[in-house]
């Protein structure tokens, strides 16, 4: 294990930034998001969560896919350049770190999404263990260890010191590049923190969230539960839950005339939106009940069914914090589990 004092952490950031592009939680306009490191960036490693999840680094909010040049009846296509330089995402929490493997199963499944694949190939994930989980956290329900997140490198901040440990070859390669600013260390402080945080995790109000209902009952039975109507009664049909979610991966592809040519871009989309499935002759999900149900069925039922029991949720709690009408996956899960026939 290696270490560096937190009050010298800029030496580490500078060392990384000297060899790779570095992204980490920075404050902008009062909120914290993953952003590029610079000498005057307001780095906020203390923030438990960014508003958008770290998926933004691999599956960005919006990205250009290609450009078209149109002249009369002639068209030419120019594919957008993909990420081809190494980059480091620093400070990824355990929940977000797990979300990458969930997104991988979508985007890296055949046929591969080459834009995402390029980012995954070139991105190095430096995760950070949680020292102060909140009441909205329930990553443990998905077997995630907040005290030892997945990632190429894992870090801990304890008593003013940042501890660093490579977990993969990619992580070891990065460690080598920045070794000069890191000192050898034992792991006593880390272990003490891990034990303390694990004790807290067990006390969190949502620690024991039981989702077994969704993997033990037939898909159509859950789909037809009458509670969906009441659960969705106040849903505004906005995209907040979707856009702050680390595992939501639906996207839209659109063309945009920028005055010099036509760009085809893709951007995050939400199944909560009315126009998500709109076709010329109408939509197959006519009311918000159906759209709301789709989002949660996807996360709680279709995902585990298609992917060996893995839910489309990592328990980050963002939707618990951000939904304008305080509806969220925990309420949905508890309501349906409580009223459902147990297997």
């Amino acid at each position: 294990m290696l270490k560096i004092a937190v009050n010298e952490i800029n030496r580490l950031f500078d060392a990384i930034a000297a060899v790779e592009n570095l992204y980490l939680p920075v404050e902008k306009g009062g909120e914290v998001e993953f952003g590029a490191y610079s000498a005057d960036a307001k780095v906020r490693l203390d923030a438990l969560q960014t508003v958008k999840s770290a998926k933004d680094m691999f599956f960005p909010f919006s990205e250009n896919l290609m450009k078209f040049h149109v002249e009369g009846k002639q068209i030419s296509v120019e594919a957008a350049e993909k990420v081809n330089e190494e980059f480091v995402v620093f400070g990824v929490r355990a929940c977000d770190a797990r979300s990458f493997s969930i997104l991988d199963k979508v985007f890296l499944a055949d046929p591969v999404d080459t834009y995402y694949a390029a980012r995954r190939e070139h991105g190095v994930v430096v995760s950070m263990a949680c020292s102060r989980p909140e009441e909205t956290c329930f990553c443990s329900a998905f077997g995630i260890d907040a005290t030892k997140p997945e990632g190429d490198v894992v870090t801990w901040v304890a008593d003013g010191v940042l501890y660093w440990e490579a977990q993969t070859e990619k992580g070891a390669a990065l460690t080598e590049k920045v070794a000069e600013v890191l000192a050898e260390s034992d792991s006593a402080a880390v272990e003490a923190q891990q034990a303390a945080v694990k004790a807290i995790m067990e006390k969190l109000p949502l620690a024991g969230l039981d989702l077994s209902y969704f993997t033990s009952r037939p898909e159509l039975e859950i789909f037809k539960r009458p509670e969906w109507t009441e659960l969705s009664s106040h849903c505004l049909g906005c995209g907040t839950c979707t856009f702050v979610c680390p595992t939501c991966q639906c996207y839209d592809v659109r063309d945009f005339d920028n005055g010099h040519g036509i760009e085809r871009y893709r951007c995050w989309d939400s199944c909560m939106y009315r126009d998500f499935t709109m076709m010329a002759h109408g939509t197959n999900r006519k009311t918000q009940v159906e759209r709301f149900r789709q989002r949660f069925m996807h996360k709680l039922v279709y995902n585990p069914k298609n992917r060996d029991g893995e839910f489309g949720c990592v328990g980050c709690g963002r939707c618990l914090k951000k939904c304008p009408v305080n509806m969220n996956i925990v309420k949905v899960a508890k309501t349906l589990s409580a009223g459902g026939e147990q297997a």
């Binding site: 902008k28 306009g29 009062g30 909120e31 998001e33 438990l48 508003v51 958008k52 909010f61 919006s62 102060r132 989980p133 909140e134 009441e135 909205t136 807290i200 006390k203 969190l204 109000p205 949502l206 009441e230 009664s233 106040h234 505004l236 049909g237 906005c238 995209g239 907040t240 979707t242 856009f243 702050v244 839209d252 659109r254 945009f256 005339d257 920028n258 871009y265 951007c267 995050w268 989309d269 939400s270 939106y273 009315r274 126009d275 618990l320 914090k321 951000k322 304008p324 009408v325 305080n326 509806m327 969220n328 925990v330 309420k331």
Partner: protein
Amino acid sequence: MREIKELLVQKINELLDNGTVDRVAGWKAGEFCYDAAPAVFTKENIDELLYNGFCGANQSKFLVNAATTENRILALLKPCDTYSYNQLVKEHRVDPSRVYALGIPCTGMVDVNKIKALGITGITGIEEDGENLKIATIYGDASCKKCDVLLERCMVCKGKNHVAGDEMLIPDEEAPETPSCADRMAEVARLEAMTEEERFNFWREQLSKCIRCNACRNACPACTCRTCVFDNAKSGLAAKVNNTDFEENMFHIIRAFHVAGRCTDCGECSRVCPQNIPLHLLNRKFIKDINEFYGEFQAGADTTTKGPLTSFTKEDCEPSIVMERGE
């Protein structure tokens, strides 16, 4: 609040029992002490109704779709909610004959995000203790002043008087006092005092956070178009995403224009914004200008007065005033 809750439950049961209404738009307890979710109740589950210092959500807009049945729905309106309600009635978006509006008192609603911003996290319980909030957390006990963590709308409370309602739970004059009101236009004035560049940078920094979730629009009681112009595929807008800075800025500015003269300053837009963009300041700037140009006007104060931007008088200021004011 506890006594008010008891009175409220009694009144609701009475209205359900005598058939005045068959359901209630209220708030329900959630996972956490501060988590009050808007919900619909009937006789069967009315026990689950909650009314405490976290029921900030403005339920008026919910009535647009809910108040369409033969049986009336009971709307529980806090004083400030009645302004939105009036405005919706005035614009014929809510049919008041389908609603039984019960005015309920309010002593200010807490914004839990402001508590968390103080570094108080892991919250397991919050209790009101006079002017303070006693907060239990998994990391120990904490406290803060209630007046420091109120919702933005409560910081500039319109007062304890309801401006609409079929009945008041308790007469306004007997209702508990609402929070004292700060200068509503202070922040607008601060922005006005900035140089053009400073102001532009302020808004760019704020609006560039927008993830275009549309929560502000969908929560706004003044945004009730069946299909929003931004959802029109043929509008030529790259609407679903802020593909350019222009889109990012224009969405909010156009929205502010669309609700100008109709916005009651309920603050839902800022309350629901996942990025905490102070959207209400755009609306307040319009309100301030309208007040200066056309005389003091409060949207939703009643259901009959014509709005300053939808009526014409010879005394109206000339459009050139905008040019004369400079900048």
